[in-house]
């Protein structure tokens, strides 16, 4: 019984502490990302893709060349 109240106080405190800190962290994060939005052009994960894209273009070019060679 007493244990139950202890768990409630401790538990709700930790839950509020966790999500409260998360609110703070999200606000900080939002401030940062809005302030420095120009550092993160939308679709930042695409950074690695152009390289691949060229490679794929190459691959297509290669394929076309190969087909031409086989036909011709």
């Amino acid at each position: 019984m007493a244990e139950g109240f202890v768990l409630m106080v401790v538990g709700m405190s930790v839950v509020f502490a966790f999500l409260g800190l998360l609110v703070g962290a999200m606000n900080l994060c939002a401030t940062f990302f809005i302030r420095f939005a120009h550092w993160f052009p939308e679709a930042p994960a695409k950074a690695a893709q152009p390289a691949q894209k060229t490679d794929d273009c190459t691959a297509i070019a290669v394929a076309i060349a190969a087909i031409k060679a086989r036909i011709g």
């Binding site: 019984m1 244990e3 139950g4 109240f5 768990l7 409630m8 401790v10 538990g11 709700m12 930790v14 839950v15 509020f16 502490a17 966790f18 999500l19 409260g20 800190l21 998360l22 609110v23 962290a25 999200m26 606000n27 994060c29 939002a30 990302f33 939005a37 993160f40 939308e42 679709a43 930042p44 994960a45 695409k46 690695a48």
Partner: protein, 384 residues
């Protein structure tokens, strides 16, 4: 071996003989319970993805002489491989993470507090379970059982299964069934409480449009949550970690094949096996007791108190901040994603037909998942 004896030997091992033997009626009743769960799932739409496997697992586990849930039986093996080890609920959380968009929460951080308040149901129910044990002689929940029952109020299946399998595996069956059933009943349980605790004016509050959340913020979010969890509460990191791993796979944009598999084939396979294994814990001698009735009542209380907690905190926040929150989204803090958020939206539309609360309610809704995982972490740390 002769014919008569063989028939006799087969007869003594028929289900009919089993049901007629001492204690056999319990198995019969449990098979009926399994059929009812399947019927609720199919006809009434009660969380069918979980309750059909759980119901079927319950039937299989209660077949006399088949020993499917006893050592060497295949449900026993699945249970020990996937649930006793904690793997299945964690893999489900991985898939849930890969399916969840935390954008609405990131866009309106303070709604996270509603997801905290709604966890009140967990701890109030824990106290309720201890009270019941004290005053009802036939019920004897220890602190671990009480914690496992309380977690029903988290309204989150994998969290409840993960915690109960660690603290009170014998109650796992009834706890999981109660959790999923009440999650399905959210549209019936929550609205009266929401209406009772709010005025029509409050219910009509329109909230301002959520801001756009950039890709970068969404990638940083799971890392941030994990780091916070590591710093504050390592015992919650298996749950929070896998949820955030799934979310990172989704948001990072470079491993879509892993994210797609996590939220489709992997979660489906694990759901089938997890459901059957949870059902295998629906043993007659554990389920057909007054304790199960206690669990059912306490679970209902947990949902009600959690709902009230979320709504009341929203009203309190409206007193303290100038940025007004529609208190109806507070009820979504219990999690039960996305059902509870839909309920907020629906009740909101009754008061103001142009007031779409769905996206606003998704914030506390996903915060509630985090909140109950944190609560589970506290219980794991203190009740073991």
């Amino acid at each position: 071996m002769n014919i008569i004896e063989s028939f006799k030997s087969l007869w003594t091992e028929t289900g009919l003989a089993g049901f007629l033997a001492a204690g056999g009626w319990g198995n019969l009743v449990m098979i009926f319970v399994g059929l009812v769960l399947i019927w609720l799932a199919i006809k009434k739409g009660f969380e069918p993805l979980l309750l059909i496997p759980i119901g079927f697992g319950g039937i299989l586990a209660n077949i006399p002489f088949a020993g499917i849930a006893h050592e060497g039986g295949f449900l026993y093996i699945i249970y020990h491989m996937g649930i006793a080890s904690g793997l299945f609920p964690l893999l489900i959380f991985l898939g849930v993470g890969a399916m969840t968009d935390f954008g609405p929460l990131i866009a309106n951080p303070k709604t996270a507090l509603l997801g905290a308040a709604a966890q009140l149901g967990i701890f109030a129910t824990l106290i309720g379970a201890l009270l019941l044990s004290k005053y009802v002689p036939a019920i004897g929940f220890d602190i671990k059982d009480a914690a496992s029952i309380g977690i029903i109020g988290g309204a989150d299946g994998p969290t409840a299964i993960f915690l109960a399998s660690k603290l009170s595996p014998d109650l796992l069956g009834s706890i999981a069934v109660a959790a999923y059933s009440y999650m399905a009943l959210v549209p019936i349980i929550q609205p009266p409480i929401m209406r009772l605790l709010t005025t029509p004016e409050e219910r009509a509050i329109e909230m301002k449009q959520l801001r756009h959340v950039s890709k970068a913020e969404k990638i940083v979010f799971p890392i941030m949550v994990l780091v916070l969890c590591i710093l504050l509460l390592p015992s919650a990191t298996p749950l929070i970690g896998m949820l955030m791993f799934g979310n990172l796979l989704k948001e990072c944009g470079v491993v879509d094949r892993l994210s797609n598999t996590a939220q489709n084939e992997l979660i489906n396979i694990v759901t089938i096996l997890l459901g059957l294994a949870v059902g295998s814990k629906l043993a007659a001698e554990k389920f057909l007791t007054l304790e199960t009735l206690g669990i059912v009542l306490l679970g209902l209380g947990a949902f009600c108190i959690g709902t009230a907690g979320g709504v009341l905190l929203a009203k309190l926040m409206n007193k303290l901040c100038k940025d007004q929150i529609n208190p109806l989204i507070g009820s979504a803090g219990v999690s039960a994603v996305p059902m509870a958020a839909r309920v907020s939206n629906k009740v909101g539309l009754e008061s103001n037909p142009h007031n779409f609360l769905l996206m606003h309610a998704m914030g506390p809704n996903v915060a509630g998942v985090l909140g109950s995982a944190v609560a589970a972490g506290v219980l794991l740390a203190l009740c073991r």
